[in-house]
């Protein structure tokens, strides 16, 4: 048999697409699989010359999935560069919005993106292996999942005026206080949101037990782990220090995220526009790490809320107290975090300062640059601005969450392809598993444009001379 190259690629090749290339050996085994990102990152240039205060409104438009994360990271960078630390009530309110974002994003990912694979099976008919199939199989659960996302979206809308591009966080604080009525409205959805998420966790653990072979075979990778923590290595999603641990869970670094450039560098590969961040001291690729739910649950020793903390302890037992390395347990970690986010909503709403009108610091002490970091649903998000004397942006550096995970997504695809693809007859279920390896990381790849974000899959089988043998297009 001639060595073959199988390419999974969207039909449109304008920027923003991810492509998977699977290169086959002569004996039909997979030689290597690559995950390419063709995303053109022009957003930083677009921001040059803008006023700093505009950035929390501009940067959310980078992303259609997690605009709130950009909104908050941008406001934090603005706080720094304008020398305007927000009053405590404003930080509480920003964190509240952030929890809404975590709940809606994680909830949607588990039920609408990953859930159908897990609950209906990787090999299920594609016609039903989607949220509609899930609705038909378990209508009550799916309706609750829709309500979970709605609750998260409603928190964002109440605070920011709208669900998708809120206008709320500004350098120095936020532009409105929370009313008692709004607080009570949010709290009224708490019990159902928590119950739905706990039910989802039970489903996930049940699935993991029934599919132990898949869990233990599917992209089990060694890497470092990276995420924000509070003192005591408690998971933190809004504001904390970065903790980086190695593949055995040993702490490598703990640092102020403002100093990220002292610790992280970015490697460039010829076959991808997206760079590969890594821990400088270990070099590339030894210093690669994972972010997002699995990264955070592995770098944290505890959660600040009781149910989530109990779930984290249970999660850590999946690998006897060592870092959990199974890619499919990203889904479990995602749900553990959702429990924390929901419980934290209640903690925040019960804080005596949450209804305060002291929400904006208008003093200014400008600096030449500032860094804002949050834990977006997908992982650590960094906004770094350099400003001139007119308070205009001179330069921007953004490291988006999925950028950190670039290496691990590629490795996950390689691992899954080698585990499941044997020979030239590639089934739909095998392809779905390769996609699931990427989907587990919930990547944020060019949702910035709708038109080029439509991604039907095209599979190309090529021989060792790169001649096209066969094309398969997936809708």
């Amino acid at each position: 048999m001639v060595a073959q190259k199988i390419t999974i690629e969207p039909v449109t090749r304008i920027e923003g697409h991810a492509k998977v290339t699977i290169r086959m050996k002569d004996d039909g085994q997979v030689d290597h699989a690559y995950f390419h990102v063709n995303e053109f990152r022009g957003f930083e240039k677009f921001c040059e010359g803008r006023m700093v205060f505009e950035m929390p409104l501009i940067t959310p438009r980078i992303c259609g999935i997690c605009p709130v994360s950009h909104h908050l990271a941008s406001a934090k960078a603005g706080d720094e560069v304008l020398g305007a630390p927000p009053p405590r009530p404003a930080s509480l309110l920003r964190e509240l919005m952030h929890m809404g974002q975590i709940v809606q994003s994680h909830g949607m990912h588990f039920f609408e993106l990953a859930g159908p694979d897990l609950l209906l099976g990787f090999d299920a008919d594609p016609a039903i292996r989607n949220v509609v199939g899930l609705l038909q199989a378990n209508p009550e659960l799916t309706v609750k999942a829709v309500n979970l996302r709605k609750w998260g979206q409603e928190i964002i809308r109440i605070l920011g005026g709208r669900r998708v591009h809120p206008n709320f966080a500004i350098p120095g604080g936020v532009n409105k206080a929370l009313t008692q009525t709004e607080r009570d409205t949010i709290l009224s959805g708490y019990d159902e949101a928590l119950a739905t998420t706990m039910a989802a966790l039970e489903i996930m653990y049940g699935w993991a037990e029934a599919n132990a072979e898949d869990i233990n075979k599917f992209a089990v990778l060694k890497s470092g782990y990276f995420g924000l923590v509070k003192p005591g290595n408690t998971l933190e999603l809004y504001d904390g220090q970065v903790r980086l641990t190695d593949s055995d869970g040993k702490e490598l670094e703990k640092f102020d995220p403002r100093n990220y450039l002292d610790y992280i560098a970015e490697h460039v590969e010829s076959w991808s526009y997206l760079k590969f961040p890594y821990y400088k001291k270990m070099g590339y690729p030894q210093g690669v790490y994972r972010v997002g739910p699995l990264g955070r649950c592995n770098t944290s020793d505890k959660m600040a809320t009781p149910l989530a903390d109990a779930e984290l302890k249970k999660f850590k037992q999946l690998n006897g107290g060592k870092p959990v390395e199974n890619t499919l347990h990203y889904h479990t970690a995602r749900l553990v975090e959702t429990v924390y986010a929901i419980e934290n909503v209640k903690v925040l709403l019960n804080d005596p300062d949450i209804l305060s009108n002291d929400v904006l610091n208008t003093c200014r002490d400008p600096k030449p640059y500032g860094v804002g970091v949050v834990e977006a649903p997908r992982g650590t998000l960094i906004h770094h601005y350099w400003m001139n004397e007119n308070q205009q942006i001179e330069k921007v550096n953004l490291i988006v969450s999925s950028g950190h995970n670039n290496w691990v997504m590629s490795e996950a695809v390689d691992s899954v392809a080698k585990s499941y693809i044997k020979g030239p007859d590639v089934t739909e279920g095998m392809l779905n598993r390769v996609e699931a390896a990427i989907r587990a990381h919930d990547p944020c790849l060019s949702c910035s444009t709708h038109a080029v974000g439509q991604m039907p899959i095209q599979l190309e089988i090529r021989d060792s001379k790169d001649q096209l043998v066969k094309t398969i297009t997936r809708d």
Binding site: T12, P139, R162, V164, V452, G453
Partner: protein, 169 residues
């Protein structure tokens, strides 16, 4: 008859935001106030038409569809269809994106029917985009298509009392 006209795309990414410009044109022709705000949620009470512009289609929109008798989605395309201004009846049918959070009008109808056992008459007006840089203006080629798309939507709106209301003849 309640109508929803829903445009989506990123208005900061040149032609990806063409539906925002089309919505503006249709609203102006119906003598509704428009502004430079990138998010649109305007209700024309006299004609019972809701105008919405959002960055993306999201699952909760499926729940909202139950409130309408007919829906017109507007978006940009990159040449996947031959016509520069393409109009089609939308049928239900879930399409999954492997990598991103991405929904289509067909997928929304599919979810809507499963949730509420009914779906509105739905069309999609899709306009060719040529440039997707970082700008709120349209490329000249796409800008020239806005009027034609607005004509089609106005004609569709006027088909209120016909038995095939909502269908493009």
């Amino acid at each position: 008859m309640k109508t929803l006209i829903f445009g989506y795309g990123n208005a900061d990414r040149e032609d990806d935001g063409v539906s925002w410009h089309i919505l503006h044109e249709v609203m102006k022709r119906n003598r509704l106030e428009v502004s430079d705000e990138l998010d649109i949620e305007t209700y024309d009470e006299a004609r019972q038409v809701q105008y919405v512009f959002q960055l993306q289609l999201t699952p909760e929109i499926a729940d909202d569809l139950k409130d309408y008798d007919r829906v017109c989605f507007i978006d940009a395309h990159t040449g996947a269809v031959p016509e520069e201004v393409h109009v089609e009846q939308v049928s239900k049918g879930f399409q999954k994106s492997p990598f991103t959070h991405h929904l289509t009008p067909s997928s929304l109808l599919s979810i809507a029917e499963t949730l509420h056992q009914k779906i509105p008459e739905t069309i999609l007006v899709s306009v060719r985009g040529y440039e997707f840089g970082f700008s709120q203006s349209l490329s000249p080629k796409t800008a020239s298509l806005v009027g034609k798309a607005a004509d089609i939507i106005m004609q569709w709106l006027e088909q209120e009392d016909s038995p095939a209301a909502g269908r493009i003849s």
